[in-house]
Amino acid sequence: MINIIWFCMIIIGMIFAVINGKLDMINQVVLENTGEAVTFAIGLTGIMATWLGLMRIAEKSGLIKSVGKAISPLMRLIFPEIPKNHPANGAIVMNIVANMFGAGNSATALGLKAMDELQKLNKEKDRATNAMSMFLVLNMSSVQLIPLTVLKVRSDAGSLNPTEIIATTLIATGISTTIGIISCKLMERK
């Protein structure tokens, strides 16, 4: 999928560049955007390292597990197919918690572990289960509490109050997540 999208974006871009007479821009993009990507990744290191460090503390202290236990009734409601004591539960909760804390990349690592556990419960190995779809939709609608990277972008741009968008983000996320869960529940019967 990503292969096709990547290919199409570049080819469609090339065609438009020819039509719009912007072929010279392509050379600039190849040179500048790739450099920007590297600078960007390096700039992200500080924030990522900080949260990975804090997450490690939260993991070792058992805070992540406690949070997991607290939302266990909700897990039963959203993922009725997963047996109660299956390790998939823990992995899913840890991924969601990591997402909440904005540790995107450690969340991905935990998410892959969760998918692995869910695959063990899957009878048709090349077909997504209801729980997998639900987990991914939940994941992609972002249950993030603090959008850290956005806050950094805002403060870099000289915002007077970079954090003012946390509340609006929480409301928007809440709505998109709820709609995602409902649409999943409605469509999974097919």
Binding site: A17, L44, S61, M115, S133, N139, S141, A167, T168, A172
Partner: protein, 177 residues
């Protein structure tokens, strides 16, 4: 209402850090050592995501600079106007499901051009935080376990994304006006 939300916003990061540290301290975790241990993974992760970023930045750069994105955005002008979506943000709506890093770059640009505290800056920031990259996440998660039939996942994710966009516009207009 706004004042309360704003206080919650300002307090949340320091509070989260404090809770993690105090809870860790009570449980006898070696805080400093553990933090450094976890943080060292930050560099590995940054290096690991670099090739993805380069690939995505390249494709998006070409798609954007060639004028293709602008043309595609025009399709969404009318439905966008219906919900009060500023036309400058429409490319972000299209980009968000495709690329997280690309849309972050676009938020950066919007925020620099129109100001972080403008309505455009605020809607873009809210939208950025309220959803994840769909295609990238699906590719990684399903790819890792070899699932090829994703069934209703993409449809539901797109519905959820759209709901997030509409919510972001309405909430920002309500709170910041």
């Amino acid at each position: 209402m706004y004042k309360i939300l704003n206080i919650i916003s300002i307090v949340s990061i320091p509070l989260m850090i404090t809770i993690i540290l105090i809870y860790g301290y009570i449980k006898g975790v070696k805080l400093y050592d553990t933090f450094v241990e976890g943080a060292s993974e930050g560099f590995k992760t940054a290096v690991k995501i670099m090739p993805y970023l380069i690939a995505v930045f390249l494709a998006i750069g070409i798609f954007k600079e060639s004028g293709a994105l602008e043309t595609f955005s025009n399709i969404f002008l009318i439905p966008g106007r219906l919900i009060g979506l500023p036309k400058e943000v429409i490319p972000l709506v299209i980009l968000k499901p495709i690329s997280g890093s690309g849309s972050l770059a676009m938020v950066k640009e919007l925020v620099h051009t129109y100001g972080a505290d403008s309505l455009i800056g605020r809607i873009a920031s809210t939208m950025m935080g309220s959803s994840e990259t769909i295609f990238y996440t699906m590719a990684i998660y399903f790819g890792a376990i070899g699932v090829k039939k994703s069934r209703h996942t993409l449809t539901c994710a797109l519905i959820s994304h759209l709901a997030g966009v509409i919510a972001a516009v309405i909430v920002c207009r309500m709170i910041f006006n």
